[in-house]
Amino acid sequence: MSKQVTLTIDGKQITVPDGTLVADAAKLAGIDIPVFCHHPKLEPVGMCRMCLVEIGRPMFDRATGQIVMENGQPKIQFMPKLETACTNPVSEGMVVLTQTAKAKEGQKGTVEFLLTSHPLDCPICDKGGECPLQNLTMEHGPGKSRFIYDEKLHLDKQVPLGELIWLDRERCIQCARCIRFQDEIAGEAVLGFDERGRNTQIVSLSDPGFDSVFSGNTTDICPVGALTTADFRFGARPWELKAQASICTQCPVGCNTTLNTRREAKAGGDIVIKRVMPRQNEEVNEIWLCDKGRFAHHYVGSKKRLARPQIRKDEKLARASWDAATKLAAENFSASKKDFVILASGRLANEDLFNLKSLADHAGGRAILYSDMGGGDLTALVGVGAGTNLGKLGEGDAILVVASDLYEEAPIWYLRVKQAADRGAALIVANPRETKLDKFAKFSIRYSYGDEVKAVNDFGKKSKISDEFAKAKNAIVFFGSEGLGLNGTSAVASACADLLKETGHIGRASNGLIGVWQRANDQGAWEVGLQPEEDLAKALKGKAVYIVGTDPVGDDPKLAKALEGAEFVAVQDILETATTEIADVVLPAQAFSEREGTFTSGERRVQRFYAAVPPTGDSKPDFVITSMIAKQMNIVLEGTSVSVVFDILANSIEAFTDLSYAKLAEVRPQWPIVGRGDVYYGGTTYENKHGLGVQLVPAAQVGGTVRIPKVKKEAVLRPKEKELLAVPVNKLYDRGVTVSPAELLDERVGEATVSLHPEAAERLGVEAGARVKISFDGVSGEAVVKIDDTISAGVALVPRSMGIAIKEPVAAKVK
């Protein structure tokens, strides 16, 4: 228990931990001290002078060192001038006065100063309505101006800091929250101040501009409308938007979001999502979102959304009724008996996957998870214990990141791990190439592509690193799919699980294995019982296939060929894809924002999302469609209420025991306070009123011994002489089905690239930016060359989901 300090603010006595700043202490006591540059998650700077208050401390007698007493109470000595509450930590017996005439005069003066250079933009500024400057001017500022309009400073307006964020230099009040956020929290100092005095402005220090995947967060914490998103520019006023809680579906972190919707004439009278805002969940994403989650929501309202069921008649897809479509699918599935295959992906909710697995089980078919990452069964055994909070790791803890570029694969985990490292946790990054996380790592391990398991097994040998890991109080291991396919990831996961078991880091909170999956609900799919298949083409050929939420035809020509030879293909998806083009039956499904459901994050946290917009056309939720097909096959599956499906799921799967929708919707008060009337303090993140989610308990925590299954590792491919080994890497902005419709991100997505070592490039006679053709194993595609001198000379890095179907290391030819 840290040292507690008692102080009095405005006559109210409170006790707070030592080291708390006066501004935060006041907030805990329910007293609002106005701030601009102070943010509870950033280091204090005292730049804006808005939190001026009168602070008095007990007077000490210099001679004796004792407190001077007056009438039995310590004599309080007030400073002759006002002090900033954000830079002063509390001390015992401190007396703070925030409502005296002097303090009010100081606050009023500060607001007046800030408004002298502020442009008259309120009617055209996006921040109007949720603007801390407006709110604090109303509460603390003067009513009339003493400044002459013509003497206002004129600077550039609408400066693009990168194509995602606009900067308006006139509105900036130089509070440096954006610079400090990028520097302290994101770890990428891509913003800075330029010029001085009255002309101080923000500039982007990177090229491309504002090169950070956390850039959207600066618009949340900016106290004025200086930083705004290009996505939401002039979208709507905050009071015109409806807010609904949801979960981001782009990566396995499972950030809590709030979807702001509005009925628009621009959209033809439809209710559309105008913007995605973070929702506070201190155990998952705190108050942040990455740019992919923030800007890649456009697929929900895309014109390519499937709206009606379709059946193939005479080589063409024609509209059909739900009854006809589900009947046709059901007939074919029943007829195929053991040749019935369900192919589902982690894009689906837990309830959808459960119904699919139930259908497969009852029909005697097989449910396959579309993924080239294994190890989900291990996370069920030795995953992080219930009660895990990455935000609590610090001194004495260890985090190992193996084969994963967290910045590209799960940015918010990168943020949390980086902050844990800042707090003293021993971060060990094991990766074949340098990644952004290496900057914060205590130890960086470099291994060659193919030596992942060996690198993990080396922890069994005595070394400084392995000692640090072994004696850590808590240890978490992240494993990803950098340069690995299905078998590779399973092997690495197994090795990591062994390591954790050996070192005793399983079965309790903040200890265990986390898989950096490729899709949001892969963990949920594993929990429900779906597993990936190594030779997917073979598994699909000649079968009756029920493809849900995935696009194998667009991803891989081999799978396209296999599906051509399939007996029957029914596709259930939200958008038109290459797979729907070849389907026999197309079933339109609802996107996550149109219905309720749950996702299981990579930390095995089950979280609810809610319906924000009405469904597109005649689409139905995935689990309903599955239930309709099942009914036609004389199998009874719940198809009306999603919470009932969840209850059945909770009854069937041990890990989900005791969970219910009500339990998932429970909330607890969180710190810092954000949103509502406190936008000036924590930012415009939304308060979490819809549920914090519940973490599943891994088998190791339940008790008893855990047996880690051994994985038969295939032979490792090594780069051969004069040949390149193409290895898959992950990229945040890719051409995924749910990312492509967001045109704003097109520049960041860019073209397919292949990264080569300078030597390899020289050998091939290409330079950076040259177009080459890469081919392997029946796949070929065009790519743009990038030079990376941190990789080995024999490998070529090919990002997944950019049009070149790579799922594991493979020998390739580059021309």
Binding site: L120, C122, R233, R237, E264, A265
Partner: protein, 172 residues
């Protein structure tokens, strides 16, 4: 009271009305005769333009927020010098007023920071169905002063930057 008094009072009253028989009537024979409205009359809305033809409305939605009856719907869009509707960065791409919801209170006029929406003199509004009572921007915008001042149009770059003009207090 004497017998005559009631008669006297009756005659006095009837005489009153008889006198008015020859007095000038105060009735306006509407619709042939229409009384002119006073300068501050609050009638049908008009979206005003500047003298150079640019629209005054900057799509700020303050009128929509101020409306007690939720009668106004505004959507904003970006303005460029190539295609300029109003000075500044922002203009109203959608502007609709539901005339049946409107109570003609004039709060939108008070809330507008550019004097764009004003309540004019027309009170003769009638509709045959609810849909036609929703007036879109085209019906509300006042006509351009001359044809070459139509909006949207291309303008010199960097001239029309100020969104909120300096207004005079209303003196009428």
């Amino acid at each position: 009271m004497s017998v005559l008094e009631p008669v006297v009072e009756l005659v006095r009253g009837l005489g009153q009305t008889f006198r008015y028989l020859f007095d000038r009537p105060v009735t306006y024979q509407y619709p042939e005769q229409k009384r002119e409205v006073r300068p501050r009359f609050r009638g049908r809305h008009v979206l005003k333009r500047y003298d150079n033809g640019l629209e005054k409305c900057i799509g700020c939605s303050l009128c929509a927020a101020a409306c007690p009856a939720d009668a106004i719907f505004v959507e904003a869009s970006e303005n460029t010098d190539e295609k300029r509707f109003s000075p500044g960065e922002r203009y109203a791409s959608t502007y609709e007023i539901n005339m049946l919801r409107c109570i003609y209170c004039g709060f939108c006029e008070d809330a507008c920071p550019t004097e764009a929406i004003v309540l004019g003199d027309n009170y003769e509004l009638s509709f045959t169905d609810r849909r036609s009572a929703i007036y879109p921007k085209e019906m509300l915008l006042e006509p351009v002063p001359t044809v070459d001042m139509t909006t949207p149009r291309k303008v010199e770059t960097g001239v029309y930057k100020r969104s909120v003009p300096e207004m005079k207090d209303p003196t009428d």
